[in-house]
Amino acid sequence: MIAVRRLSLTLGEFVLRDIDLDVAEGEYFVLLGPTGAGKTVLLECLVGLHRPAAGTIRLDGADVTSAPPERRGIAYVPQDYCLFPNLTARDNIAYGLAGRNRPRAEIEARTGELADWLGVRPLLERRPLTLSGGEKQRIALARALAVRPRLLLLDEPLAAVDPSTRDEVCGELKKIQREGRTTVIHVCHNFEEALTVADRIGILRDGRLVQIGSPRDIFRRPRSAFVARFTGAANLLPGEWADGSARAGGFRFPAGGRKPGRGWIVFRPEDVEVRRGREGAEAPDDGEAEKAKRTGVVTAVSDRGPYLRIEIRTAEGLFVAAVSPRDERIGGLTEGENVEILLPFDRAAFIEDADDGEERSPRRSS
């Protein structure tokens, strides 16, 4: 569908470097990255707002690198939606079709159809100023979809949406993709949001696509400490592995048939088990057990609703665990208590990464 090759661009402080990206027909692709990574610039490059310094963009095989936006058939919903404030919601939706001088009946039919589909019919005569964030977004989506674009670009579509309706909107977006058979590229900085909607995710960091893969792939097999941390894998232990066994800090555990290397061994917080522990420190378990055990002191507990986030200081450093609040073993856990944590080796991810610029400390989560 869309194929980007070695795309580079410098725009003020934003830089895109050698972006290679393929999105298939009907796919929901999420571009994920922290603020300032260049997500919006990349999106605007695809729309045609910026001309890349190098590289090509192909749409269905045709080179559109230097085609003007109106020849690309790529619809665009900017972060602030950019609804035309001087037009009613109806005229906003009809904008593209009116510009193409379509018959009035067709325009009305299409507008009505989209309004019903997205549930905005009652809003049609209102002006954008009077609409809420979610309402604006739907109008903006309808406006983009009205012209039946080949590709729909969404820039932070949930940023201005009330958190309580976030899931609903995500569902809406998926519906648009599936029922409308639309190819979507969606930009966001929130991994959970990406997980909810994405067929595939691309992670952008400092103008580079550092990893592309399915949500599970990214989730389970981060290829860099950055991706690991960005996707919420808080526990990174510097280590090395060779001959089927790995060492990280005081731990030693099996590493399967991995090639020898060094880098990071990563445990996601939800994989870390926590138990009430006994007084005093325990000697490092250097046996090749299923799980590594450590004792430590709870330094912070925060209730995140579906889970409890617990920070534990150990001799190896700080660990973060996400546990169910219904877990009876830790009921009523408070700061200062001694606990025992268990790291399941089979859930560990290995990042071969001699030096990716991350500081070598497990404590980088927040």
Binding site: V47, E70, A75, G96, P149
Partner: protein
């Protein structure tokens, strides 16, 4: 001002700010009032008031009508030309980044800085002593000491106001609006016409109004370039000057009061017309 429900502190602030505003307003209104009253006072020796006197003189009245017409027509032509020029120029200045933009920006402001009378001298030199100006004068349209000269003089000193205001308006229109329009299929011109132009409308109206107002009040450059010929190039401001310099203070004050009234009326109309249906 009426919308915010404010505590005691912000209402004190309101009083202070309002005080400044009313001081200024009061000053202007009192000056106008003083002039109106002065015109209406009984004449020397129980004669008619200056106002009645002026109104009873058909020759002065006829001259006044022709001045009013001339002023309105010239200022309106000037403002239309200025806007026609300002919209594309200001759009270019606002949207395109190019080398020397700062220099261009400065050049645009220069006519505002030059003292008006000398702006007229400058124009006269251009049209009579410079080959380009001479060519225009001889082969395209005579400017010096003609009614065309009125518009040229007004245009020279006042059109910068249009460019300024329109540029500010375009600066205030997020370019993303146009990008969205283009992603929906509009070419650059169509996106400009359908999006940037209507969104900048308030600024364009403001530019037109400012240019118009400045053109109405303009006097020095008109006198130098178009001459101060009664019945031909005596716009209201020039007519006020001519009356002043032949001792008819009453007539010139009457013209000033009239100009204020006319301008107020016209500005209200322009703003109403221009801003209509544009609530956002």
């Amino acid at each position: 001002m009426s919308r915010d429900r404010d505590s005691g502190r912000s209402s004190r602030l309101r009083a202070v700010l309002g005080g400044f505003l009313f001081f200024y307003l009061g000053f202007i209104v009192l000056v106008i009032l003083a002039n109106v009253l002065w015109l209406g006072r009984p004449g020397a020796g129980g004669g008619p008031s200056p106002w009645t006197f002026l109104w009873s003189r058909p020759d002065l009245r006829a001259g006044l009508w022709s001045s009013i017409r001339l002023s309105l027509v010239a200022s309106t032509i000037t403002s239309c030309l200025a806007i026609v020029l300002a919209v594309p120029s200001a759009y270019a200045l606002s949207r395109f980044r190019f080398r020397g933009a700062a220099v261009i920006d400065t050049i645009i402001d220069l006519p505002i800085v030059v003292p008006p009378l000398l702006a007229g001298v400058a124009l006269l030199i251009f049209f009579r002593q410079f080959p380009v100006g001479r060519f225009i004068e001889q082969h395209i349209v005579p400017v010096v000491y003609t009614r065309t000269g009125i518009v040229v003089a007004q245009f020279f000193v006042a059109s910068a106001f249009s460019i300024r205001a329109v540029k500010a308006a375009f600066d205030g229109v997020n370019p993303r609006f146009e990008m969205v329009a283009r992603s929906l299929g509009d070419g650059p011109f169509r996106a400009f016409r359908r999006v940037a132009l209507p969104l900048a409308r308030n600024g364009i109206v403001a530019g037109f109004v400012m240019t118009w107002a400045r053109a109405m009040g303009e006097f020095g450059p008109i006198m130098m370039l178009a001459g101060a010929t009664p019945g031909k190039t005596d716009v209201l401001s020039v007519s006020a000057f001519l009356n002043m310099s032949s001792g008819h203070v009453e007539a010139s004050i009457a013209i000033v009061v009239l100009m204020i009234g006319l301008a107020a009326g016209a500005l209200i109309v322009f703003k109403k017309l221009g801003g209509k249906g544009y609530l956002w």
